[in-house]
């Protein structure tokens, strides 16, 4: 049973526009969420995170929104750039001592 779901396997966006990547979770014990970015033949790199006590966290062009009641989070990238083309993984954390649970990823293509 998937606890973290990224329902869009891929997304295509024009350069300069907004990219919105979505993530849903089922486990109400999750209280910390992260986004990772992965290029081919490289390991994932940390992008941005949010604690369940917040509903928004911003870092430059990247903003993560958390809606706890809907068990939904989203990553906004504004403006999108060709270098943002990668696979984005959503991850969730439960109690201390348990591993992160990752979604299946969304492949973002930013078209120039």
């Amino acid at each position: 049973d998937q606890q973290v779901k990224q329902n869009s396997p891929s997304l295509s966006v024009q350069e300069g526009r907004i990219s919105i990547l979505n993530c849903d979770y089922t486990n109400s014990m999750f209280d910390y969420f992260l986004w990772y970015k992965k290029y081919p033949a490289e390991g994932p790199t940390f992008l941005i995170s949010i604690s369940s006590i917040k509903d928004k966290n911003e870092d430059g062009r990247f903003t993560v929104f958390l809606n706890k009641s809907a068990k939904h989070l989203s990553l906004h990238i504004v403006p999108s750039q060709p270098g943002d083309s990668a696979v984005y993984f959503c991850a969730a954390k439960g109690r201390i001592g348990t591993p992160l649970v990752f979604g299946k990823g969304t492949r973002l293509s930013v078209i120039a």
Binding site: Y32, Y36, K38, A41, E42, P44, F46, K93, G97
Partner: protein, 114 residues
């Protein structure tokens, strides 16, 4: 700059071989993890370790074992490689303190079993 180093970027092995994938971190992290990444399946946890000589099964441990004799090194062992273990293998580490739950990943090992 903190690092997780995986010993090989690309490996080709034959069916039935015993395969060792090595991972070393220089951050004095307590926790280490092995994932595999496959198209459409995302990152799946194979094994993890929260201390030296400790290991815990992840979601897909079958056909794998691990070894953690030293804090900085976490090895993944394919006891008898099979073609369905062809995949990208990713090692990660972290230290859960001060609300820092993120992992640092290595660059990955692309394993092909023929």
């Amino acid at each position: 700059d903190v690092k997780v180093t995986q010993s090989s970027r690309y490996l080709v092995k034959r069916t039935g071989e015993k395969v060792f994938l090595e991972c070393v971190q220089d951050m004095d992290h307590e926790n280490m993890f092995w994932y595999r990444q496959d198209p459409g399946l995302g990152l799946r946890l194979i094994y993890f370790s929260y201390d030296v000589k400790m290991k815990e099964k992840g979601d897909i441990p079958e056909g794998y074992s691990v070894s953690r004799e030293k804090k900085e090194r976490f090895s993944l062992i394919l006891e008898s490689a099979s073609t369905n273990q062809t995949s990208m293998y990713l090692c990660a580490s972290n230290y859960e303190t001060g609300g820092n739950y993120g992992y640092t990943f290595g660059s990955g090992t692309r394993l092909t079993v023929v």
